[in-house]
Structure formats: structure tokens, C-alpha cells
């Protein structure tokens, strides 16, 4: 199971908390799937206490809370939001999003490194939402990040693992850094594939919240993650081009 900043997490499934049909369905999705971390966005609901009943419900889930800076388009905005989140949730964890483009919602790698540096110096444990770029990963580790969150595909698209080569390469370059596939997953099979590649966890929101039955979908993702992680440990066979019969063909009876 994943370990983030020396904390053991009991599940490979991390869920966002937006867009569910109702808070009860959100709660049931967490309970049924056993998700280990809840991400929450402070930006929208405001840190002035007006979202207090919703925050309390998230706390009552009894899972680790990872506040995010969703919707922040500048370093300053992200840093301010992180500090507000720290006050509201009493945690030094922050999922850092610095959005570079309003349509594609892709991370701004330059702002991300800068914000990660500032927040690490301020004592935060930063979970950066990033592209799968290996150089960017190196820079983020240089400024003090100890977990990385590469995207699968743009937020909310459900396209899955868009660049399997890039993700495999990233995983191989930094084999000891805990990595979470964050954003873009649509199906449990995408999550299983991420585990087979050796990633530690996935973070989802839309794929679960916007499913016809979010509770069932969250549970399906949890099963897929288990299957993928088990397969990774089982050391899968390498693919090959030629057929290879699993039983010998010499000496077969001729049934003429």
C-alpha cells in the first residue's frame, strides 16, 4: 500500500469530493470502496466557514484529507489557497494545482515548480499535479516534493492513460518516488493499467461522481486497483510476437 510523506495509506484509491448527486452518495462511495484519501477544494466553497457542514461531513469520513488548490491559475493564488486550506483542515498536506490553460486545465509546469518551492519552504508536504514530463519531475523533487501526481489525461476527460510511454518512462526514471495518477481516468481498466505500470495510487473524481451509480463505480475502481497491483507483483509475462503453444505439439495423435 502507498506511503506518502511517511504516512501509510490503507488504499490505492483516492477520491475527489465534488459533483456527486448528493453528500449521502459521496459518503457511501467512500465507505463501499474503502478509498483512503479524500481531496477537497477550498476555492469554491470558501474558507470563511460557510462550507462548515460539508467540511465536517468530509472529516467524518475518517480518511486522510488532502486539500487542493483546484482552479488556481497563478502561483500567488495557489500559495494563498494552500495556507487557507491548512487552517481549515489542520493539515500540512496540499495537492498543488497551478492551472496553465482554462480550456485544457493542463498544469503550468513553471508556476508549479515555483509554487512547490514556496510551499515546501513554508513547511507544506506538496503533492504536485503535473504532466508526465521527466524533467519537470526532477525539478519538483529538487524543490522538496516527495510524492508526484502525473496526469493520465486532462481533468474530467475520462480518456485514461493518454501517454503510456511517457508514464512508463517517468516511473522508470524515479522508481522510488511514490506516484499517483491524477486526473483523466474514466474506467476501472485505466486504473488497473496504471497499477500494472507500477504506479502507487490513482486519484479520481468525475469518473465516479458522474457515473450513473457512483457507489458501484467507486467500488469497481477499488477492485481494478487491487487486480492491477496484484498483477504487478505477480510479474506479468513479457508480450511476444510469435504464437507459443502452451502444450507441446510433438507426438500429437493424428485424428484422421
Amino acid at each position: 500500500m502507498p506511503v506518502f510523506y511517511d504516512i501509510d495509506i490503507p488504499s490505492r484509491l483516492m477520491l475527489g469530493t465534488a459533483q456527486y448527486p448528493s453528500p449521502r452518495i459521496l459518503t457511501d462511495a467512500f465507505r463501499q470502496s474503502g478509498a483512503g484519501i479524500a481531496t477537497v477544494s477550498l476555492r469554491r466553497e470558501g474558507g470563511d466557514g460557510a462550507g462548515a457542514s460539508f467540511w465536517q461531513m468530509i472529516r467524518d469520513l475518517g480518511v486522510a484529507i488532502l486539500p487542493n488548490t483546484a482552479g488556481c491559475h497563478s502561483v500567488r493564488e495557489a500559495v494563498t489557497t494552500a495556507h487557507m486550506a491548512q487552517e481549515v483542515f489542520q493539515t500540512d498536506w496540499i495537492k498543488l494545482e497551478v492551472i496553465g490553460h482554462p480550456d485544457t486545465l493542463q498544469p503550468d509546469p513553471f508556476g508549479l515548480v515555483e509554487a512547490a518551492r514556496i510551499l515546501t519552504e513554508d513547511g507544506f508536504k506538496v503533492f504536485p499535479y503535473m504532466t508526465e514530463d521527466g524533467i519537470l519531475a526532477g525539478r519538483l523533487l529538487d524543490v522538496g516534493c516527495r510524492v508526484l501526481m502525473p496526469w493520465g489525461a486532462p481533468i474530467g476527460t475520462g480518456l485514461g492513460l493518454n501517454n503510456p510511454y511517457g508514464l512508463r518512462s517517468l516511473r522508470a526514471q524515479f522508481p522510488d518516488v511514490p506516484m499517483v495518477i491524477d486526473a483523466g481516468l474514466g474506467l476501472p481498466s485505466h486504473a488497473a493499467a496504471a497499477m500494472e505500470m507500477g504506479f502507487d495510487a490513482v486519484l479520481l473524481n468525475t469518473a465516479v461522481a458522474k457515473a450513473g451509480d457512483p457507489v458501484a463505480m467507486a467500488t469497481a475502481f477499488a477492485h481494478a486497483l487491487q487486480a492491477g497491483a496484484l498483477a504487478r507483483r505477480a510479474d506479468p509475462m513479457p508480450p511476444r510476437d510469435m504464437a507459443a503453444p502452451s502444450t507441446p505439439v510433438i507426438g500429437m495423435a493424428r485424428l484422421v
Binding site: P21, S22, P23, R24, I25, T27, R44, E45, G46, D48, A50, G51, A52, S53, F54, M57, G156, T206, K210, G212
Partner: protein, 327 residues
Amino acid sequence: MSDVISVLGAGVAGLTIATELVRRGAKVQLIDPNGGPGAHNCSWWAGGMLAPFCEGETAEEPVVRLGQKAVTWWEKAGADVTRRGSLVVALGRDRGELDRFARRTTGYQRLSRDWLTQIEPSLADRHDHALFFDTEAHIAPRQALSVLENSLSQAGVTIEKSAPRGRIIDCRGLSARDQLPDLRGVRGEMALLHAPDVQISRPVRLLHPRHPIYIVPRGDGIYMLGATQIESHDRGPARLRSVVELLNAVYALDPAFAEARVLEIGADARPAFPDNLPRIRKRDGRIFINGLFRHGFLLAPALAQMAADLALDNKKPEVMDEDHGEW
């Protein structure tokens, strides 16, 4: 025990239960410290869509079923109900959203562009597909609240600021959080637009993965544009981000909105329980009607009928989750 029933709160829930009780011959006292319906009620800011089938996209089954009682109740109450159905559209790149909406709802027809041209021609330029829920309707909330207030007044029930004289039916919405700890606020922001260039005659929902909106025609070129849905009990003025998102999206629905005048920008918080379903609750010696969420005008009639059954005939309502006996 007094045979007067004191209804607390003159929003849509309080006015409908008071109306229903008076219809059934009960003696009613209607109390609201803020006086008659106004900006202090969250129903003042409502859309007024009587659209149970569309709501089925995210709401659970009771909303769809109970909401179907709304149209006839409001007509009987004398409100101006417009039965022209409702439309659901999505912009080209969000076509998948329309299919998703269709899979999760019933009671619609799929319209091609030709058909859309016939019933709502100004939308057909930009939208080649739509879902048409032909049995749905809409009302103007402020007018409907005032119709109820006037008929109650004619029956001798005026809105008082005095203390309750009889047994209490509590319809205070979010203010009842002092006694209903699991009630929460869900903030909504809206705008009222005057757009005489726009020719849309029925409610239209524009599906969008990030900023879904709806418009409801109020007549005379006026359109209600709604609404955000934010987990917050903040009732303060609308935020710029929300307003920009709403206005951007309505411009995408029909560019003729560009010339609209913004008459009002409003915000309030809807009372909701954790499953976003309404409740009738008997506790602390009161009957509570609450948690109507975004379905005030849609569900208030069914809740009023059930609460009247409970108050007058001791018939247990299906949406009652707590019954602590004495009332």
C-alpha cells in the same frame, strides 16, 4: 389543546402548507418575522421549473414521482402555470452530455434540428439536437408566492410577526438548522436578464461538464438564468467567478443574450439534507417540512399534501424519517 395550526415561515413551503390546510378547513396562523415573501426567502430566487423528469438526471426517484403533482396543484392555486415543456441542449463538443442526460431520464423525445426549428427556432441555429420533455411546465416564483399570499389573506390568514398560538408546523428553511442539525445550505447564484432580442418560450437547460445552466422565460423578454450549486450556507452577494461562468454559458446558448440588460444578480442558500431529499419530521413537538433543496416549487405541493394528511388525519407521510410522537 388549541385547534389553531401555526405555520412558521412564509416561503414556498410555508405558503403551500398554509394554503393546503385552509383548503381543508383548518384554522391557520402564518408567522414570518420578515413579513411577506421577499428577498429573504430562498424561494424568491428560484427558477420555477416544474420539471420532475429533467431533475431525475441527478435526483432520486421520489423527486420525479412527487414532482408530478406540482403542475395541477399550482394551477388549482391560481398561479400562472405555463405548460410548454422543457428543452435540454448541449454544445457540439459536449454531445456526450446529452446522451448521458438521456440515459438517466425518462419522459422525453429526441428532437432533430428540423423539429427544433419548429418549436424553438432561435435555438436551431446553434443546436442540432435536443431533448424535449413535453409534459413539463414552469411558473414565475414571485408571482406564485404572491398569489398564495393573496388567497390566504382573502381567507383571513395574514402573515403575522406574533408568537405562535397553536401547534407548530415549522417551514423556516435553513433557519431551522437550530433544530435540524443535519440540514445544510447549498448556495445558488442567479441572474435576471432583460433580453428582448431573445425569442425562447420555454425553459432550456444547457448541459456543460463544468458550468451547466438553465434559463426560464418570465415573459416580456425577461429570463431567469440559473444557477450555481455550491456546498456553502453563505447567503451573501454573488461571487464574480460564478456570475462570469453563468453569463458566459448563457451567451454560448444564444449569442442574442449579449445585448441583454442584467436586471438582478441574486444569491441565497437552499436548505438540504444529506441525500438532497425533502423530509417531514415530527420532533420537539413540531412538524418540520424542510430540505426542499433545489426543488421548492416542484415538491412543496406534494409535501404540503402529505403534511396536511399528517397534521389533520395523522396519516404517516412517506418522506417522514423521524417521528417522536407528540405534536
